[in-house]
């Protein structure tokens, strides 16, 4: 935990934003601990987790544009200083993130730099498991959000809504694998449906609704889940029917998912956790084309999402955070791409965020085998959203105890 500058209060940060000074402000330290649990946590708070799958190159996302070392290691794929969206006199965003920069200027973005964990793993699969289970040392089946759900709703307590937590996609991500809580994975509104031979649907419902327990120990659990599966699609469509989307979303899978997320959140479907994914950021060759396209897709989608939420006056209750399984190597490779690396920045976005930059950019000269050194453990960020946003004791979900960041 070196290289931290002192923390400027959020009020000062906002004052700076409103004034004429450049956007050089608020390097935050992690040391502050926020108020005790249970105080001022709004029960309507929603967490949206955005997976940037494939390993996003942090150096071309948050660019240390004034550092000569950056231009030496990125002679071809480096982002030109005059195109960078400057955050201060040293770092700035990739120009593809113009929409995210707008959110930043509105005070809705916290940038956390140098995030990682000890002994980083460079396998997509294993590193993703590490981030999603929050368990770098031992393989664990349950996800960090799954454990949050299990602790919140123990074996005999059902969540108030079947859409309490939702994965937007065809399969359940490890992050949401829980033991007791049944999390639906919804690829699309139309695709989440019991598709039977048309005139057999009513009878299927009768069979599930009338299923009697007791023939076999597991039958009751299966019948109960079958009822959720059978009725879930219709329930989803009924829930969101009254919601009017009040923003223009780009037409791509990621934005369609955020649009559905806003429908769920805004229509009182009871949704508190949403997981969406965008990718692939695995840019081994010709990185700029692919990464810039995806960053733009992500920024534009998020801008539409928050415009939609703001129009419904719920943007202050929705916090989005990004993650990726790893950053990439500092030096570009021979194919004008980058290979698997380590530490990276992540974004926390929302109307309630204390806007600013948290932690220094990792050094480009003090490297670990050619890779960036992390200074903020990713579980610090998880602990922050668990404690300060969801009002849940992080130690209940994460093995060990972690500091929190004052970003929300």
């Amino acid at each position: 935990m070196t290289n931290r500058r002192s923390f400027l209060s959020s009020s000062l940060g906002i004052a700076v934003l409103g004034g004429t000074m450049p956007l050089a402000f608020m390097r935050a330290a992690a040391a502050q601990s926020l108020p005790a649990l249970g105080t001022s946590i709004d029960p309507r708070n929603v967490l949206v987790v955005i997976q940037m799958s494939g390993g996003n190159d942090g150096l071309n996302t948050v660019v240390p544009y004034s550092d000569d070392a950056y231009h030496r290691v990125r002679p071809v794929i480096g982002v030109a200083p005059n195109t960078v969206l400057k955050l201060d006199d040293r770092i700035g965003l990739n120009p593809a993130l113009a929409s995210l920069m707008e959110l930043y200027k509105e005070g809705r973005v916290a940038l956390v730099q140098g995030v990682g964990y000890p002994n980083p793993n460079r396998s997509h699969f294993e590193a993703t498991q590490i981030w999603e289970t929050a368990s770098p040392d031992r393989p664990t089946q349950s996800g960090w959000l799954g454990r949050y759900l299990d602790r919140t709703y123990p074996a005999n307590v059902k969540p108030p809504s079947m859409f309490e937590a939702v994965a937007l996609g065809d399969t359940l991500p490890t992050a949401l694998v829980a033991q007791h809580v049944d999390v639906p994975a919804i690829g699309s509104i139309g695709g989440y449906a019991y598709n039977t031979i048309k005139d057999a649907k009513t009878s299927a419902g009768a069979l599930y609704d009338g299923a009697k327990p007791g023939q076999s120990p597991y039958l009751e659990m299966i019948a109960d889940t079958a009822r959720n599966a059978y009725h879930g699609g219709d329930a989803l469509r009924a829930k969101i029917a009254g919601y009017t989307t009040k923003a223009t979303y780009p037409n791509d899978t990621f934005s369609n998912q955020l649009k559905l997320a806003a429908q769920l959140i805004g229509s009182n479907a009871g949704t508190r956790i949403v997981f969406v994914s965008i990718g692939s950021f695995d840019t081994h060759a010709n990185q700029r084309v692919q990464q810039d396209r995806l960053l733009k897709m992500m920024g534009d989608g998020l801008a539409a999402f928050y415009a939609d939420l703001a129009a419904h006056q719920i943007d202050k209750n929705v916090l989005a955070m990004t993650f990726s399984e790893f950053g990439r190597r500092v030096t570009q490779n021979a194919s004008n791409g980058t290979d698997h690396g380590t530490a990276m920045p992540l974004f926390v976005i929302g109307g309630a965020v204390k806007c600013g930059v948290y932690g220094d950019h990792p050094s480009l000269t003090d490297l670990d085998n050619g890779d960036l050194k992390f200074h903020t453990d990713f579980r610090t960020v998880y602990a922050t959203v668990l404690k300060n946003w969801l009002g849940h004791d992080p130690a209940d979900v994460l093995a060990g105890s972690y500091q929190t960041l004052p970003l929300v």
Binding site: Q141, T171, T174, P184, D199, A204, A211, G214, I222, A229
Partner: protein, 475 residues
């Protein structure tokens, strides 16, 4: 056995079957009547289920001969390739290599005449869980071949083979394990997940086993594991209370001689093939069979598959089907000739993409198979299969003409035929009545009684309703 009563006194979801709760001699050979229900149960557990005709044939063999035919499949199997085609295996498109290798294996599960061999192969794949997410397809195929060749043999030999298997070496980094830089990953999993279980060894045991495993290096070019004595730590180690200049074979010999190991394997087999939370006496009994049989898996499986407890009400329909068991069972039941191209993806949605377990712990299985997403994926897979399956003369179980030929246009008889063939009639009367109602009644959304004009669609509907009953999720 029509009046079978299913035991609900011990709920595996809640837990534990207490000592002393088993009556009689649970592992003595089953002496009751080997009915079609018993035969269907055996085929589901020791294979992937079968058609109604296969169930009848198996029942007619009697229990001993039926189990023998699974354990010692004497007839020649169909000719299956040892590897997927090389243009699949080494395709630059990883997705093609992945799905092609999955289909290569799934096809064998579907068509093999030696279903227990393939079921054991699947069991060991879950036990020594290795993933194509990290390991090249060619090495995965080779590992599956290893499980098939040795999975019914001696566990000591199997564990030794797995320890120098290229896929495992890459998966758990044993190829980085050298005298100078010991890597404990593989040694730890051998003890925790493969052979002993947590709490039955110390951290020092892990360190010393890792030292004994050093020197087995994987060559990326030849894709082979060979022993390099220069990288092997030949010093003295203390492992599980024994001391010597142990190597890989010594450590494995010490592991299998541990009573905790014997109980570990006994429990794993019982949970997979009989029921969850087996009673301590039952674990003890199977562990004894396993140890006395010299760690022979086929002998141990023979005892299990012939036993009273295997055919007891406690074991009947007591295990949630895995997605692979569910889909392969379905395709076998329907008489499908080849693996549908989307099966790997469907299995992913159901939570068990073959060759891609979520971690080295494998799939949790049991009730963890069942959630809204996975169940919806199963339901819709059945609905699509029933709606689209081409009418095939050799698929009488779901073929409307064959069912009408058998039962006429008499709805109760049609339902009896379908429910009897698909579920050995393991349904309550009101379930049967609901399906009869579907065939005979009109409703507001356009359902009309079935007859010569619409029986094709109506019978497919009735088949789908039957195959999607909660009880069909249970093995």
């Amino acid at each position: 056995m029509r009046d079978i009563k299913l035991d609900t006194s011990t709920d595996p979801q809640v837990g534990f079957r207490p000592p002393g709760s088993l009556d009689g001699e649970p592992l003595a050979p089953f002496a009751g009547r080997f009915s079609t229900r018993s035969a269907a149960h055996l085929l589901r557990r020791a294979g992937f289920g079968g058609t109604a005709g296969e169930v009848t044939r198996t029942a007619s063999l009697g229990m001993e001969a039926a189990v023998d035919s699974l354990l010692h499949a004497s007839g020649d199997d169909l000719a299956f390739p040892d590897y997927p085609p090389s243009d699949v295996l080494y395709n630059v498109n990883g997705g093609i290599a992945r799905s092609g290798t999955q289909t290569w294996w799934l096809d064998r599960m579907l068509r093999t005449k030696r279903p227990l061999v393939e079921k054991m192969t699947l069991f060991w794949h879950g036990h020594f869980a290795t993933s194509i997410d990290k390991v090249p397809a060619a090495l995965m195929a080779e590992q599956i071949d290893l499980f098939r060749a040795q999975g019914m043999g001696n566990f000591r030999t199997l564990l030794a083979s797995v320890s120098v298997d290229p896929a495992m070496s890459v998966w758990l980094d044993n190829h980085y394990n050298t005298k100078a830089h010991p890597n404990e990953n593989y040694a730890r999993e051998v003890m925790e997940l493969f052979a002993l279980g947590l709490g039955n060894y110390t951290e020092d045991d892990v360190k010393n086993a890792a030292r004994a495993f050093t020197g087995w290096t994987y060559n990326n070019k030849t894709q082979q594991v060979t022993f390099n004595p220069k990288l092997h730590d030949d010093g003295v180690k203390t492992f599980l209370g024994r001391t010597g200049a142990f190597g890989l074979q010594d450590v494995i010999a010490i592991i299998v001689s541990q009573p905790v190991h014997q109980r570990f394997i006994a429990r794993a087999l019982l949970e997979y093939f009989v029921y969850s939370d087996p009673e301590p006496e039952l674990i003890e009994g199977v562990a004894r069979t396993y140890a006395l049989g010299g760690y022979d898996i086929a002998k141990t499986m023979g005892t299990i598959l012939r036993s009273n407890v295997f055919y007891s009400t406690r074991a009947y329909r007591a295990i949630p089907k895995s997605p692979i068991e569910f889909t392969i069972g379905l395709l076998r039941y329907a008489g499908t000739a080849q693996i549908p191209p989307n099966l790997g993806y469907a299995l992913r949605r159901m939570g068990q993409e073959p060759l891609a377990p979520p971690s080295v712990k494998g799939w949790d299985g049991g009730p963890a198979w069942i959630n809204t997403n996975t169940l919806l994926a199963r339901f819709n897979y059945v609905n699509a299969l029933a709606a689209q399956a081409p009418p095939r003369a050799d698929a009488p179980n779901i073929q409307p003409d064959a069912i009408v030929a058998q039962a006429g246009f008499d709805a109760p008889r049609v339902v009896e035929a379908i429910v009897g063939a698909a579920l050995q009639d393991d349904v309550t009367r009101d379930v049967r009545e609901t399906i009869v109602g579907y065939l005979t009644q009109s409703d507001a959304v356009g359902s009309v009684p079935f007859g010569p004009e619409n029986y094709q669609q109506k019978i497919r509907g009735a088949v789908a309703l039957t195959l999607n009953l909660p009880v069909n999720q249970l093995n």
